[in-house]
């Protein structure tokens, strides 16, 4: 397993007035053998980042490296494997699950070796190898997601990228897939980028948590530190909004302030200065003296702040009570 790093990775869609920068100069490192959890709302660019890594969307700038060696060719990129969100869509309905997995096994193997490998992988993800001949339609969502994981592992990847792999599953199944991911990661020492919109899920599997907002990483650090003492107000907002037992809707949180924008800004036209300032509970809409937020982009200099936070006021500790 090797280290995956994004350096100034940028992805643009469209041209002219409809142009959209989905990923805007992202710097992120996934250390070898560890799990980095990437959270953010839909449209924040987290899936696009993963797709750029495996070459499904072209990058417009920056570099993606595996242990310092930039990924350029298709052969390079095969060392990264992506597991998709919807296991009902990511397996070919016409192919048996064995064929789907075998397809990803590197070509140099002989047929018998491939069959053995498929059986080994199915066993690894907790499925009966005898099921290799069944079609995806005969499997439940959780079982399909196990097959998708097995297919990703079949390619002998250096890094596995998991894109919202539990969000299409039922809660009772989600648990078993998360257990599997954690178990595989520990047994095989996998390097993983684990993408999810659900902080609780990300927290459960990740060593490091990175938070993405409008195409940028706004905070990244050790999982416990980010959750217990977030340095970016957006992380705090996410933590406050996560539904939990024992937390009532009426308990006010800073982000409920009616002076703030309720809507995320359009990614076609991100606001000047800090991209979060119109939704920020400690920003210029609640503290008028903080004009810097609306004028100066906090991204430069983020590397020097705690948790690499893209916030001018990251030094203010935002402790989350009771967590």
């Amino acid at each position: 397993m090797r280290e995956l790093s994004f350096e100034g990775t940028t992805v643009r869609f469209g041209t002219g007035r409809s142009a959209l920068t989905a990923v805007d100069g992202v710097d992120l490192t996934v250390p070898a053998g560890s799990v980095v959890g990437l959270v953010g709302e839909s449209g924040s660019g987290k899936s696009t980042l993963a797709k750029a890594a495996v070459g499904l969307v072209p990058t417009a700038g920056g570099e993606i490296r595996l242990d310092c060696a930039p990924l350029r060719t298709r052969r390079d990129r095969r060392k990264l494997q992506l597991v998709f969100q919807d296991p009902h869509a990511s397996l070919d309905p016409r192919m048996t699950i064995g064929e789907s997995i075998a397809e990803a096994v590197p070509v140099r193997r002989r047929r018998a070796a491939r069959t053995a490998e498929v059986a080994r992988l199915l066993e690894l993800v907790g499925l009966n190898p005898a099921r290799a001949r069944s079609l995806p339609s005969g499997l439940s969502g959780g079982q399909r997601q196990r097959v998708a994981l097995a297919r990703a592992l079949a390619a002998e990847p250096e890094v596995v990228l998991a894109d919202e792999i539990t969000s299409a599953l039922d809660v009772s199944v989600q648990g078993s897939v998360l257990n599997l991911v954690r178990d595989l990661q520990r047994r095989l020492g996998l390097t993983m980028l684990f993408i999810s919109h659900d902080l609780s899920v990300v927290r459960y599997v990740s060593d490091v948590i990175a938070v993405m907002y409008l195409g940028r990483i706004v905070e990244a650090g050790p999982a416990d530190a980010v959750l217990s003492a977030p340095r970016h107000p957006y992380t705090r907002t996410l933590l406050d909004a996560a539904p939990a037992f024992g937390v009532a809707l009426d308990d006010p949180v800073p982000a409920d302030d009616p002076r703030l924008d309720a809507e995320a800004p359009s990614p076609h036209d991100p606001p000047l200065g800090c991209r979060f300032h119109r939704r920020c509970p400690i920003g210029p809409l609640t503290r008028p003296e903080r004009t810097i937020c609306a004028e100066t982009d906090p991204q430069p200099g983020a590397a020097d702040r705690p948790h690499r936070a893209a916030c001018h006021f990251a030094a203010e500790i935002l402790e989350v009570p009771g967590r």
Binding site: L56, Q81, D92, R151, D183, P243, F245, A264
Partner: protein, 631 residues
Amino acid sequence: MGREQWQAALRNPVGAVAAGLLVVLAILAVVAPIVWGDAAEETDPAALSQGSTSEHVLGTDTLGRDILLRVLVATRYSLGLALLATAICVVAGVILGVLPAVLGRRAGRLVTAAVNLAVAFPGLLLALFFAVIFGVGARGAVLAIGLAGAPSFARLVQTNVAAVAGRDYVAAARVAGVGRFRLIARHLLPNIGEPLVVNATVMAGTALLSFAGLSFLGLGVQPPAYDWGRLLGEGLDRIYINPAAALAPGVAVIVAGLAFTLLGESIAQVVGVRAVRRRTVPEPAPQEAAVAEAEPDAVLAADDLRVAFPAPGGGWTHPVDGVRLTVRRGETVGIVGESGSGKSLTALAVAQLAPDAAHVTAQRLEVAGVAPLGRTGAEVRELLGTKVAMVFQDPMTSFNPSMRVGRQLAEVTRVHERQGRRAALARAVDRLRTVRVPAPERRAHQYPHEFSGGMRQRAMIAMGLMSTPELIIADEPTTALDVTVQRQVLRLLKDVQADTGAAVVLISHDIAVVAQLCERVVVMYAGRVVEEVPVERLGQAAHPYTRALLASVPDLATDRDRPLATIAGRPPDPADRPEGCAFAPRCEFADDACRVRPGLAAVAPDQRAACWHPRSQPLNLALDAVTGGQA
């Protein structure tokens, strides 16, 4: 297409007739030339250009040959040429169609443009043009008809390939390193096979007709060979003397053409392009218990609510199987369950929005004092239109994309209260303000796509508030939204409930979301209610399924070093539920008693569970502090 689908295509009467005709034609094509080939060539100088006689049923041609035999023998040549032309068309079409997927972006575009240009060219003209190039004769005509049909087939292939190429499994194969050609052979072509088979079948019928046309014009088959088209041409000269000579080959062309086209149609029907409607009624459910007295202030009272769908193999399945649900005025009730538990279908049935194929029955169903079952659609709309509001999961598809949001809201008032346009629009703006849509005057004039997901969901709630609803049903209203927006929408629902006094039914797969908003939680499993519990008693949930659900969701306090609790197995298929308790096969407490279906029974005040072995010890969760939903 699986074997069952082929069988289904043949069970359909139209498909069976078409297939039968094709079999007869195929037998004729093989047998007729062998048996009657010589007889059909035999000239009879004693019987030139005769009408119908006992010897020659359909008469003879100018050389005294028997027309009936000639029509029968021509089957092989006519069908063979048509199928050959179809094969050329399909092969050329598939090659042209997948080329853009193989070539790079620029070359691909060029091919697409060329195909589009060729499609715009009239097919017959193209065929005539090719016929001139390849020379008059059967070979020229086959090439002409085949190539003339290729562009439209190529376009069909292109469209379907483009649709499949966007699927995740194709992306997954690319990530796994599968090459372009293998991608086409293994992933793209097999998955577009159905529309191609349908179209090729229909195309064979068309090719047959075109061929007859070309031969009739003298551009197709040349003497001494003959096909139906040429026989038709010869017969037409003498149509006033012997009409049968022209009609017989004409009928043959029509019958064969129809057989191909109808077979294509019935295949299309089976593979799901067109649905067949069945309108029979399922067996009435066995009367279980006497209907309990409705609570006097219930805004929704359902007893033994069932929703049945026709099963593919005959019979019926019941995704909702005897649900009892009472919602009091002003109450917020959450319905929780996994996919397939029947929670959404229950809500749709209550709001009289179940799909057409569904059959809804209940021993009692009263919504806002109205019993909708057995009434016509118009009556129900009249009675319930203003009393029940629905909020759906996907706010993008629940609005008409081509209508401004304000007008869509106003329409509710205009239809139900017959208000003027201006007054209705003013109310729409007012309601948008109520749900805290910023700048409501401006946003009322925008289209749904100009709204973000959260704003669209607010607008959907505003639409429900255009009249004075007594019941708001929200079906997974926040599933497509982010946590920050989810919180806003849930808070809004809570405010709306407090302001209007309407009852709210919130349906969700997420028990934590439900616990935040609701006073009472109804847990559904396999089409039934397994537990009803006040939210503050969730920590003492009695049904093993409820407890497992609560334990399996990680939250921000879950121990990261311990595996998450899981529920072994999977929910039963509605067509194949176990006798007795549906959860028993996955339940650690199940025993012989669970082979009998448990009814909902009180386990604590206001708490009822359908379980023979209800649990009583508190759950080991930080749930004692649950206060969500307390007004």
